[in-house]
Symmetry: C2
Subunit: 371 residues, 2 copies
């Protein structure tokens, strides 16, 4: 038996053009540990948009039903030459119902249950996953939380876990009003973790204030640096997570941390001795990261990927992360909100694709493939 | 009793002007664990020049006997505001003869011996140091090696120690023809450590080739990136030490490392899973570090300071580092060469100060304060 399926696939051509299309296929029935999931909802996250559209010039694309063909800036096409010709399935997270299962007991046990999985390619009607990598979700969880139970909740919980593992006392988050940022603010409050929240406009500060967040610093204000120093001083936060990537935010954060550490000590051209660290976990700005090194020599800027981090944890810490996610989803601390719901076909409409790809705060899209 | 002394002091004024001058003082006799060292020679290293002159506009300075007053670019003066008014003694490394000692046995034991120490301020006729932090040197060591027994040799040995401690298999060095770079090349050969040597012109490549160095890559050549990839592939070097600081060298090295790690694997937008790391240990270029992040998410760029690193090592590894330094100084592997010898007064002559501050490869200066 097979099941007819449509899935969103992104391919970069040798001509530098990016094609995103709905591809039809037949899925064969699950065997062994496999389960067949009917996708009930999939979150459209910046990481999905990055893989699906990346730096393509979507404004100049040709749109037709189930197909978008967009030119790519030459430098970007060159940088992405490694993916030329690869048909990449899109969709990092989502939840669905197990409608068929292989013969192994782990697979059979999930029949009829709602699960989230991480096989990739979840912008589909159906998807095969390994039952042993699925997270069984409570039946009464709203689809919004279920569909976004993986990327953002796991990222927020793993920020806290990283901080504790490395012995830091507080966190700085550079995109604090994002969906993830709001989750992190609530999580840090519950976990007693001091958090400095950097936003880039007043409305974003208001959003955070409305959920009871302290230490909000607006980078659009003239006194940003001074306030950032005050907030880091008040929290002792010497570990930052940055999703902007490009520009000088990481550098400014490190300078503020160094200024706090140097307070009341004699001049030292090598900067303060405390470790000051920024993890870059996203690429909202594709430009280069610019470090002015006005923060001495004891600093560290690193890439950070939630799955690589999670997989590096010992089993007992992985279990804690997963339990903390379920607890947070139930209490709404880690629950997501979506402004828009769209079907698979709508994703290929010009207005929807552009709005979705703008990644505007508070404008998240939920994909309902079988709606 | 006191001893008349002159020492080189650098002070940044509130007006943004940098004053470097020979200051006279009386040194009181050593007590307790102290020894009084008559300085026989002190190496003038980039780290000394950085502290003494930094980004000051030396070309526009006023020179008078024993005094230089130089304007500072406004941005630099602002960045260095933490040192305004501090009279900073210059001279990180040097060797001398102990001519007086406190009453403690550790101090008495060094009377008449040649030692190197790290009290700072060694661009002086005399200096007090704690006997317990002095390294006793063999009597027959030439003054050039003795005077430079600390910064470069310890840095080279600690590069190798860092590599082993962190589990890397080889090193990349971005200023390979420097005095330190040549030491490192010889040390790595003896220690069996694969080393990629980046130089920026043909003459530098020739210097390294003349001492039997493999894997030399010239950044001024058009095929630099391709050759860098080949050299990293051949050596497996995924840890780099960079003394340039500004510009995109760290970024280019990380991209080459990622390209090597991705060879023969499928496209992965998150880059290769192996850790790729650059330590920035110097500031030959005061401009910002520019990372284009074309190397995925598993990377790390950190500041690195030899003394902070050395002090973080367990005692047995510190002992190994020190023994390896003495061995290398004796065998000339870690011995330094100087092109010029100058006295304290000459340092304040316009031509000498400018030539010295140019940090030209092969043009190192040795200070002989009592010559």
């Amino acid at each position: 038996m097979t099941t007819s399926n449509r899935n969103v696939v992104s391919t970069l051509g040798a001509d530098g053009k990016l094609t995103v299309e709905l591809v039809e296929e037949e899925i064969t029935d699950p065997v062994g540990h496999e389960v067949l999931i009917r996708i009930d909802g999939a979150a459209i996250n910046p990481s999905d948009l990055g893989l699906m559209f990346g730096p393509a010039l979507l404004e100049q694309a040709e749109f037709s039903p189930g197909k978008i063909v967009a030119p790519m800036p030459e430098a970007a096409a060159k940088a992405l030459s490694g993916r030329v010709g690869d048909a990449i399935r899109i969709g990092n997270e989502g939840a669905g119902t197990v409608i068929a299962a292989g013969e192994e007991p782990e697979a059979q046990a999930l029949l009829g249950k709602r699960v989230s999985g991480r096989p990739g390619g979840l912008f589909s009607n159906y998807r095969i996953a390994d039952a042993r990598t699925c997270l069984e979700l409570p039946d009464d969880l709203p689809i919004e939380s279920a569909a976004a139970s993986f990327v953002n909740p796991m990222t927020a919980v793993c920020f806290v876990e990283t901080m504790r593992q490395e012995g830091f006392k507080g966190l700085v988050h550079t995109v604090a009003a994002s969906n993830l940022g709001q989750m992190l603010a609530k999580l840090c409050k519950e976990e007693g973790v001091p958090l400095v929240n950097i936003v880039r406009k007043q409305e974003q500060a208001d959003i955070l204030r409305s959920i009871g967040t302290e230490h909000i610093v607006d980078s659009s204000q003239e006194d940003f640096n001074a306030r950032l120093i005050d907030a880091i001083d008040a929290t002792g936060a010497l570990l930052a997570f940055d999703a902007i990537g490009g520009g000088n935010m990481a550098s400014r954060v490190l300078s503020a941390m160094d200024a706090v550490c140097m307070k009341g000590t004699a001049y030292n051209r090598y900067g303060s001795e405390e470790m000051k660290k920024v993890y870059v976990y996203g690429t909202l700005d594709f430009g280069p990261t610019i470090l002015d090194r006005s923060f001495g020599f004891t600093w560290n800027v690193s890439g950070w990927l939630v799955m690589r981090y999670f997989m590096s944890l010992p089993k007992d810490r992985q279990d804690w992360v997963q339990e903390r996610i379920i607890k947070g989803l139930r209490s709404t601390t880690l629950a997501s909100k979506f402004k828009h719901r769209i079907g698979l076909d709508e994703l290929f409409e010009r207005d929807v694709a552009l709005a979705c790809n703008a990644k505007t705060t508070g404008e998240k899209y939920l994909l309902i493939p079988n709606g």
